[in-house]
């Protein structure tokens, strides 16, 4: 087809709306638009960072990819095969989970307190048909890989370990099925800074060693910049901007991204942020109004922003942004002039 290599993971117009129930007799009190027509793709071997405020749909996206919740619409293609779709072009959810694993934020809640570390890691391989002995030997190998001495940790229980150690175990557990893609859902957010750095470097080492592809979900812009090749910015269930990490941090195109970046604490007091920060919380994702969802907090919002949904438009170099200001001929005063249509021949 095209000359670009086929994406390892391709997400097309993924959507999840949660109905709110208010009582037995009423049909519903509105719909939470948690993830709304999100499309993106991930190439093998790259790290896609996903950033956004809490409630923007980052974690829901991750859970949709893992099929921990059922999407309302949209397709997820893994190596060109649709997850959960029938036929030869489809891929069963079970097989997809074998190739895609997830690390959760809460390192304690994501380990069964009644299982030893070894049993926790060996669980998934046993489910997938490995003998208990093989699975345990794999668990010990993985423990060594994540930097924990197997003979000291294998028989321990989660509550005997520190947060950083537990998160290493969770990483080992996610790797136990030898997946191609690992989704890291705020995997380092709960750790303190020095431990966080160790775990991040461990993740980078594992990526090179095992040829992994990461989806790195975080609200920490510094961490995302350190880890990612490309970055996707989400706002209220929509993609605001997506592009290579240098483009997002260097040639920011969306007003929301620039607001996020200006709120990022700087190490240099001389470079303190001068821009006013975003005011207030994001509006409720329950039955959002039409048009751009950021317009209620956007300093550049104009009438056109409430009339039409912004669509992702190419900025060049794989950088896409969903903003009327960047779309030629959108009607926004800051938008570039429409490109003259070629004269009909």
């Amino acid at each position: 087809m095209s000359t670009t290599p086929r994406a390892l993971l391709e997400v097309r117009e993924l959507r999840k709306h949660f109905g709110l129930k208010s009582g037995i007799f009423s049909k519903g009190a509105g719909t939470v638009h948690a993830v709304d027509d999100v499309s993106f793709s991930v190439q093998a071997g790259e790290t896609l960072g996903i950033v956004g405020e809490s409630g923007c749909g980052k974690s829901t996206t991750a859970r949709l990819l893992m099929r921990l919740i059922e999407p309302d619409a949209g397709r997820v293609l893994l190596d060109g095969r649709g997850i959960g779709e029938p036929g030869a072009q489809g891929l069963s959810v079970r097989d997809a989970r074998r190739q895609m694993q997830m690390v959760f934020q809460d390192s304690f809640a994501s380990l069964n307190p009644r299982l030893t570390i070894e049993d926790s890691i060996a669980f998934a391989p046993i489910v997938h048909g490995l003998s208990s002995r093989q699975a345990k030997s794999r668990a010990r190998d993985l423990l060594a890989k994540v930097g924990l001495a197997p003979e000291r940790f294998a028989a321990r229980y989660p509550h005997e370990l520190s947060g950083g150690q537990r998160q290493r175990i969770n990483i080992a557990r996610a790797l136990a099925l030898e997946p191609k893609i690992v989704i890291l859902d705020e995997a380092v957010s709960a750790l303190d800074k020095s431990v966080e750095a160790q775990v991040l470097n461990l993740l980078l080492d594992l990526k090179t060693e095992l040829g992994l592809t990461y989806l790195f979900i975080s609200h920490d812009l510094n961490v995302v910049r350190y880890m990612s090749d490309r970055v996707m910015v989400m706002y209220l269930g929509k993609v605001a901007e997506i592009g290579p990490v240098d483009a997002i941090y260097g040639r920011t195109a969306h007003p929301y991204t620039s607001a996020l970046l200006s709120a990022m604490p700087s190490m240099d007091p001389a470079r303190r942020t001068q821009q006013p920060p975003l005011i207030g919380d994001p509006p409720s994702p329950i039955d959002p109004p039409p048009g751009c969802r950021f317009r209620t907090r956007c300093p550049y919002a104009e009438d056109v922003c409430g009339e039409r949904d912004p669509v992702l438009a190419a900025e060049g170099g794989g950088h896409y942004v969903a903003c009327q200001m960047k779309k030629a001929g959108s009607g926004h005063s800051a938008a570039p002039a429409p490109i003259a249509s070629p004269p009909p021949l």
């Binding site: 893992m66 809640a109 994501s110 069964n112 926790s120 669980f123 489910v127 003979e151 509550h159």
Partner: protein, 294 residues
């Protein structure tokens, strides 16, 4: 790799203790719980070895020796209103009383916990169906329910047990359901689901281990309630029938002697009190010891 594995296991076993050995070690430090467990063990042994321990036949009375006070020569704990030896009757009574305390709770634990785990884990319509049906039983006070079912089935030990089982299913199912719902929402269940395990494996490996502990402890505390309810049924003539020795029934028949010989009349009550408080304290101790995360 395979050659180094055994030696690694030996080291690990030496450095880390298993879950149950941790619980046992904690229990052994808890003197109150140990005392209660020993008392209960004593009562259990007493029930098993009743024919060896009892000095007299618990059914054989004597018109001449009615209502002897505690400490009478030859009758250490006195005699009841028909002149039967109280000590022998209390020892034999432990058999029925323990059975009536434990059996209904065990039955209810099997049925109730199964219902609760299914309802809690599957959620949705199945949860509504099971739990609302269970709620119907909450409309009746438990004593009334036990009396009604027992009355409908007719007097007798087996029927009383069925009635008590039905009484205890709703609370056990409800506790199990709420614990299961809590556990099901935890990340480790999600993570296990994400690794491709089916519901049966998820419940077996990840849910049961975390649910049964608290439910088991709750059930232990119900044993004393069951004993008292069973005594109540016997008292009303719905459970055990005289002359069968059972603490509840003995309490009932000795009621007439409460002004004549209050010490003897209170003895079956004291036994019920001691055993049920031991079960309650032991369940508290178990709760503390089994919570390894603290």
């Amino acid at each position: 790799m395979n050659q180094t594995a055994p030696s690694a296991e030996v080291v690990a076993a030496a450095t880390a203790r298993g879950y149950w050995s941790t619980v046992l070690a904690r229990l052994s430090r808890d003197k109150l719980t140990v005392t209660c467990a020993l008392i209960l063990l004593g009562v259990l042994l007493m029930a098993i070895c009743a024919p060896l321990l009892a000095p007299y036949d618990p059914f054989k009375g004597s018109i001449l020796k009615r209502l002897l006070p505690i400490g009478s020569p030859g009758y250490f704990l006195g005699t009841d209103e028909l002149g039967r030896d109280m000590l022998s009757r209390l020892i034999f009574g432990a058999r029925l009383s323990l059975v009536m305390g434990i059996a209904p709770v065990l039955n209810a634990l099997v049925i109730g916990a199964t219902l609760g785990v299914i309802a809690g884990f599957l959620g949705g319509r199945i949860n509504t169906l099971i739990m609302r049906t269970i709620d119907v039983f909450y409309a009746f006070p438990s004593v009334l329910l036990a009396v009604a079912i027992s009355g409908a089935l007719g007097a007798g030990i087996f029927n009383a047990m069925v009635a008590l089982t039905i009484v205890f299913i709703p609370p056990i199912a409800r506790v199990t359901e709420s614990v299961t719902t809590q556990v099901r929402g935890l990340d480790f269940v999600e993570a296990a689901r994400a690794s491709g395990a089916n519901n049966f494996t998820l419940i077996r490996v990840h849910v049961l281990g975390n649910v049964l502990g608290p439910v088991f402890i709750y059930a232990t505390s119900l044993i004393s309630v069951s004993m008292i309810l069973a005594s109540g049924l016997s008292f009303l003539g719905l459970g055990t029938k005289p002359p069968e020795p059972e603490w509840g029934l003995m309490l009932n028949t000795l009621r007439t002697a409460i002004y004549l010989n209050p010490g003897v009349a209170a003895l079956p009550g004291a036994m019920i009190f001691m055993v049920s408080i031991c079960f309650n304290l032991m369940s508290d101790g178990l709760r503390a010891a089994m919570d390894v995360t603290q």
